[in-house]
């Protein structure tokens, strides 16, 4: 087990190096980040020269990569292209906000999906089962950003007909959110719609998995044995079937982390939430490669860690899995 983890860690580090080098080269080959500044009339050429020197823009790409890497490790990812803003404090801020959104949405999604999945499996082909299936087919076919927009449209329509704004549709907080409890109440009020959007997307995936794995388990031999030896139904489903049916979901949840951030990019943009997704989109739009690179490296690192966690968790939960 330990050797397995160590080997995976070493391998992950190599993957991250290669991936970051490839992305860095791709971004660097594709264009001169200063192109827009160069054609701006009356832009101080000395500033451009200073940026070129600061960011070593005239060196070959592998050299620039090493400079960038040094900055990333020793200088907290350095500064933005113009050199006026350190990257890491911004990233921390947006990461905290995104985590609030993603964590709550994911937790609720898992709870709802487990309940739906288990009941669908226990009452297979019932009305409930068919409705849940229809729901998740719709959820899978629905573009996330469109769902977000539809909720906003709904809020706007309600506002136009009744004059009350039941939910805010932009930003994380009011202009003056107050402190303490009132701050968090305001934050929750702002986050409800985005959380619903992320939840629906995740529930449609998770509930299908939960249903499938629950069905597999309740049709297995040991569950029949449990019934045959006279255990009450409640005990059979909860103690014997349910706990084992959860194992595949644990892996799926850990692995879907990357996809969740993708959903967050879209959701945060629609609701203009100051989170990682919006930060990333804005960095791309301002044509600044440095925050983009920092963002990608951090997120890729998290994905690698979550993949490892998924594998380890699987081994701990299911003793039949052996690592060699």
């Amino acid at each position: 087990m330990l050797t397995y983890v160590v080997r995976r860690l070493i391998y992950s580090v190599i993957v991250l190096f290669v991936a970051s080098f490839l992305v860095f080269s791709f971004v660097s080959i594709s264009g001169d980040p200063l192109a827009a500044l160069r054609v701006t009339p009356n832009y101080d050429p000395n500033v451009i020269k200073r940026i070129e020197e600061q960011k070593n823009l005239n060196d070959p790409i592998p050299v620039r990569y090493v400079y960038w890497l040094r900055d990333a490790v020793t200088n907290q990812f350095g500064t933005t292209l113009l050199g006026d803003r350190p990257i890491l404090p911004d990233l921390w801020r947006v990461m905290k906000n995104t985590m609030q959104l993603v964590f709550v949405a994911e937790l609720l999604a898992i709870l709802v999906a487990v309940v739906i999945g288990v009941f669908s499996a226990l009452r297979q082909y019932s009305v409930f089962d068919y409705s849940a299936t229809a729901f998740s087919f719709l959820g899978l076919a629905m573009p996330v950003f469109w769902l977000a927009l539809m909720l906003q449209v709904l809020v706007v329509q309600i506002y136009e007909s009744t004059g009350t704004r039941i939910f805010p549709i932009t930003s994380l907080s009011d202009v003056d959110p107050g402190t303490g409890v009132s701050f968090w109440l305001d934050r929750a009020h702002h986050l409800i719609l985005p959380i619903i959007v992320l939840m629906i997307a995740q529930v449609s995936v998770y509930s299908r998995y939960m249903r499938a794995s629950m069905l597999e388990v309740i049709n297995s031999d040991y569950v029949r044995t449990a019934r045959a030896k006279g255990l009450e139904e409640r005990r059979v489903t909860l103690k014997h079937a349910f706990r084992n049916a959860l194992i595949p979901l644990v892996t799926l949840v850990a692995l879907s982390f990357g996809g969740l951030l993708g959903g967050a990019i879209v959701t945060e943009t629609v609701f203009s939430l100051d989170g990682m997704g919006l930060y990333f989109v804005n960095a791309l739009l301002s044509n600044d490669p440095y925050p983009v690179m920092a963002w990608l490296l951090i997120v890729a690192t998290m994905i690698v860690i979550f993949n490892l966690v998924a594998d380890i968790a699987y081994g701990l939960l299911d003793p039949r899995v052996r690592y060699d």
């Binding site: 993957v15 087919f137 573009p143 469109w146 449209v153 990357g258």
Partner: protein
């Protein structure tokens, strides 16, 4: 591929659903004896290829068949958008500004702030979006199959290298990489957007094909082909690949659905297909910028995207059941 086998069901000369008179002494006679009886009576038996069976199983899947029809209709609307559309794509009509859906002048999807007919725009959007999705699916399947086949067939170091490369792509956050690629590769045209999507979506196909090749290359028929002197290329193309067609087709439909949704997200965020090309995603973006009070501008393009994705998912399900009857999924 087309090893003919005789169907047990008798094909009567009279077409259509013939009555089943095979009740002897009140006992129903099984298929086999019925076929034997028919054979003795000199009734023709119809040879059915494997594909005929696939077709039969697919047509039994009602939802999938309905989806094929709906999707075909949508595709035809997209294909003939220039002929069918009631208005011009960029036709501005200042007398019909921001009209909600109405039968008046056939603005059933409404018009925007410039009086452009949204039904027309959606039709042209379907045209672009479906074209991109099909291109992505074909290209991604081609790349994935090639990489998966080489990795699975040759194994060893080549396999290791190619699969590590696939892992690498899976490590990166998909949508973020797509966005980065479109900024630095310069998307905007449907073709370029399609290229970018294809270069990210081949990994699933590659993994599946590799798995199939790994197991198939150990089979006796491959050994036989080798013994009779067939080269690697011939074995891959003529002997193993035809056995992988089923799963490849199923995964291709999945890629189409993913491509439709991803392209929509890209175009919506303003990184994908850009004006003057219309795509469903950019139409929603366009509509959103005109304010949410004109709700029809965001609603209808999105509904069309959803309908397309839904149809493709159902077709994929039907294909999976039809192509791989041994591995039935848990019924939906």
């Amino acid at each position: 591929m087309t090893d003919p086998m005789y169907d047990r069901n008798v094909m009567q000369h009279s077409s259509g659903s013939a009555p089943q008179p095979a009740m002897a002494g009140g006992m129903p006679i099984g298929d086999t004896s019925q076929a034997e009886l028919a054979y003795e009576a000199g009734v023709e038996l119809k040879a059915r290829s494997q594909w005929a069976y696939v077709r039969m199983r697919f047509f039994r899947h009602k939802l999938a068949v309905a989806s094929v029809i709906v999707l075909l209709l949508i595709a035809l609307v997209g294909l003939f958008a220039p002929q069918l559309a009631p208005y011009g794509y960029d036709e501005i009509n200042l007398e019909a500004i921001a009209m909600s859906p109405t039968l008046d002048g056939w603005h059933i999807f409404g018009t925007d702030q410039l009086g452009r007919d949204y039904l027309t725009r959606v039709m042209f959007g379907i045209r672009t979006s479906l074209w991109v999705a099909v291109m992505v699916a074909l290209l991604a399947t081609l790349i994935g199959t090639a990489i998966g086949a080489v990795a699975g067939y040759f194994g060893g170091q080549i396999d290791n290298l190619l699969m590590r490369f696939t892992d690498l792509i899976l490590t990166l956050p998909g949508l973020a990489v797509l966005l980065t690629a479109s900024v630095y590769f310069g998307a905007g045209s449907p073709f370029k957007t399609g290229l970018i999507l294809a270069f990210l979506l081949w990994t699933a196909v590659a993994r599946i094909v590799r798995g199939l090749f790994l197991s198939l290359r150990e089979k006796e028929f491959v050994e036989a082909a080798k013994a009779s002197g067939a080269g690697d290329m011939r074995i891959i193309m003529r002997h193993i690949l035809p056995n992988c067609v089923g799963p490849i087709v199923v995964f291709m439909t999945l890629v189409v659905a993913v491509a439709i949704l991803l392209e929509a997200a890209l175009s919506f965020l303003g990184f994908g297909i850009q004006p003057p090309n219309a795509a469903l995603g950019s139409l929603i973006d366009d509509g959103q910028e005109q304010g949410l009070e004109t709700w029809w501008l965001v609603t209808f393009p999105g509904l069309v995207i959803m309908l397309i994705a839904l149809c493709i998912n159902f077709i994929g399900d039907g294909l999976r059941d039809a192509l791989d009857p041994t591995q039935r999924r848990i019924r939906a």
